[in-house]
């Protein structure tokens, strides 16, 4: 069986920097919900930007959904969805207007697209407010619309970057349950988050990266059991990446 993602010797150094954001990075990611953990500056966002075709200039071999990057990015784009950390929506447009616009970029069937939108809005408790402008929504509601925008074309692989940041407990639960259902229906997920509890709850496999390299990976429970004196994923993370601050 082919892997979802195959990366061999990926190196990416930004212009003006001597330190590579990703350094000879190799990884194979399988189907399911895969969590990518790493402290600030570990290389998570660079990795996602490369996999989604936003960054095209790098060294190494990458295969995503069996297509080579960056040469076959046009074939990959319709198959992937992205939910950025930012609320990547037009605040002055309503939820419906945003969803209609973003789905139109995938040239979907109008009828089935409308049904999809309705279904997602109902599942995430937004249908009643669908005609309100995004700027009038709470943080949790904005996150949920942000999530739907990445799903409208039913991608095979969904990239989620901190999808539960700044939301209340109820919204978080709705989002995480929704993602579990989504995976059961066949959508593979690559999930990056600082909220390690969320990763432990959601992900089948976890990849821990630091300083542009993969430092450990495995099934979530196996990873916890593998490291002595670690009771949960957070303990494993601290053990592997240290306690030193990374954002100064």
């Amino acid at each position: 069986m082919e892997n979802l993602i195959d990366i061999k010797n990926l190196t990416k150094t930004y212009k003006g920097s001597n330190i590579p954001a990703l350094n000879n990075f190799s990884i194979s990611i399988n189907d399911g919900i895969n969590g990518i953990l790493g402290p600030n500056g570990a290389g998570k966002t660079t990795l996602i930007n490369i996999l989604t075709g936003i960054i095209k200039n790098f060294n190494g071999d990458i295969k995503c959904l069996n297509y080579k990057l960056p040469s076959e990015i046009k074939k990959i784009k319709p198959l992937i969805g992205i939910v950025p950390q930012e609320i990547a929506l037009y605040q002055e447009l309503t939820a419906m207007e945003n969803l209609n616009f973003f789905s139109s970029l995938y040239k979907l069937n109008k009828q089935s697209n409308s049904e999809n939108i309705k279904e997602f809005l109902q599942q995430l408790g937004l249908y009643e407010r669908r005609n309100d402008k995004i700027k009038t929504y709470s943080g949790g509601m904005k996150r949920r619309v942000n999530l739907i925008c990445g799903l409208l074309h039913k991608p095979k692989l969904l990239f989620l970057d901190e999808p539960t940041v700044g939301v209340d407990v109820q919204s978080k639960k709705v989002i995480l349950d929704f993602l579990k259902n989504l995976n059961q229906e066949g959508t593979n997920i690559i999930y990056t988050s600082h909220l390690i509890d969320d990763v432990q709850f959601l992900c089948n496999n976890v990849y821990i990266i630091d300083n542009g390299s993969l430092i450990d990976y495995g099934q979530t429970n196996d990873l916890i059991n593998k490291h002595q004196n670690c009771e949960n994923l957070e303990d494993v993370f601290i053990k592997l990446t240290g306690k030193a601050l990374r954002d100064n």
């Binding site: 075709g53 200039n57 037009y90 970029l105």
Partner: protein
């Protein structure tokens, strides 16, 4: 097709829901046209049609006084009130007071015996040149010079003063010539006995003023004809604020990442913005033309003259090119700027500077040679030159082909630089 409609719909909705942007795009230019036309109207009227009120205190009541009054009156520039001290019980001091209060722009005082004194001087000169003539020569050497005095309103500028003084000098010189000719004719008659009742053909060399161009009988530009095109261009280029703002918003809010991850090319999405904002430029132009044609006459301003529908079509096409250049520039600012604050400050300042050097604020004909060369670098200058050709001279698009080429090149180069910058930033 659905894709194009959807993208256009999104861009149009974003514009029409941005109230500040809308005010900047439509309200600001309307206010600018109204205010600047009203402000500059007196200047343009002074140049074109409104008569300058002057008062003449004619105590000479003879040929010099009459001729000066007649010639000034016939020039149709002045509205003349002629008074004299005895008949109108007004003295020179009263006239000066009226000028000082601004009721008249100037007072012209022609003292008593100006004509008589002039005749005496001429007669004396003839006698000096022809001493053998059998006539009495005045032994007394009195000074017969007369002095015509002009009192100006203190607010009158020096150019206006100089032109008035030279006009009066010219009239006086004509009168003097006529009187000299008459005196010599009289003297020659005495010598030869031959009668000559002809006047000196003083206007045998005339100057005829003609305006070059198809519509040579057309009047000089009014304040409306200057301000409507000028502020339309300014408003069109001010789309830099909303358009660059939209691009930066997409960058900062993460929408750009989502857009770039979709199968639709980012250039295609940019072109939608360019299309919508070029459309906005055309709408702006026609709203301002409407203001010039229908609203300004209601507040006693001159009407914008649109000769025919063909002229409107030329305006539409040329405005499209201005809109493209302005959109390209805005896309470039939005691509390079790091945040909305940076784009707003740099965008608006650069447009104000380009407007200043391009002849929007100050007409280029008052600029010095260096500034004239610099003005040619401004896209707003290419635009106003094109508009002048189309609005004022009613020329066709061929006459503005170089302006169109320059605007098009600006559009293409700014878009290419933006795309290149985007790709470079990605890596």
């Amino acid at each position: 097709m659905n894709l194009i409609i959807s993208i256009l719909k999104k861009d149009i909705l974003l514009i029409f829901r941005d109230k500040v942007g809308l005010a900047l795009l439509f309200l600001m230019p309307i206010m600018l046209v109204l205010i600047m036309t009203l402000l500059q109207d007196s200047t343009f009227k002074a140049l074109n049609q409104e008569k300058i009120k002057i008062i003449i205190v004619d105590d000479d009541k003879d040929i010099v006084g009459q001729t000066i009054t007649e010639v000034l009156d016939s020039s149709k520039i002045f509205e003349i009130t002629v008074l004299n001290e005895q008949k109108d019980s007004i003295d020179l001091q009263n006239a000066k007071n009226l000028v000082n209060k601004g009721k008249y722009k100037l007072a012209l005082y022609i003292p008593q015996k100006t004509t008589r004194n002039l005749k005496k001087i001429i007669s004396k000169e003839i006698k000096i040149q022809m001493p053998n003539l059998n006539s009495k020569t005045s032994k007394t050497n009195t000074n017969n010079n007369s002095e015509i005095e002009i009192f100006f309103d203190p607010v009158i500028n020096s150019t206006f003063k100089t032109s008035i003084i030279s006009s009066i000098n010219e009239i006086v010189a004509k009168v003097q010539t006529q009187l000299v000719f008459k005196s010599y004719t009289k003297t020659i008659k005495k010598i030869t006995g031959r009668e000559n009742n002809n006047n000196f053909p003083i206007n045998s060399i005339t100057i005829k003023e003609k305006t070059v161009g198809k519509y040579s009988n057309q009047k000089l530009p009014t304040s409306t004809q200057h301000n409507v095109p000028a502020w339309t261009i300014f408003a069109i280029f001010f789309i830099v604020i909303p358009l660059s703002g939209q691009i930066i918003y997409e960058k900062i809010e993460g929408t750009l990442i989502r857009l770039k991850s979709t199968p639709v090319s980012y250039c295609f999405l940019l072109m939608s913005k360019v299309f919508v904002f070029t459309l906005i430029a055309v709408i702006q132009a026609f709203i301002l033309i409407g203001i010039g044609v229908y609203i300004l006459p209601l507040v006693n301003m001159p009407m914008l003259v649109i000769v025919n529908n063909y002229q409107l079509l030329n305006i539409l096409i040329f405005t499209t090119f201005i809109g493209l250049a302005a959109s390209g520039y805005s896309v470039l600012i939005g691509t390079i700027a790091k945040n909305q604050h940076q784009a707003a400050i740099f965008g608006s300042l650069s447009i104000v500077i380009l407007a200043a050097i391009g002849g929007i604020w100050v007409p280029i004909y008052v600029m010095n040679d260096t500034m004239l060369i610099i003005s040619k670098l401004s896209p707003l200058n290419w635009s106003i030159n094109g508009y002048y050709n189309i609005f004022l001279r009613n020329e066709n698009l061929l006459s503005v082909k170089f302006e169109i080429i320059k605007l098009l090149l600006m559009f293409v180069s700014t878009i290419l630089i933006s795309i290149y910058y985007n790709l470079k930033e990605k890596s």
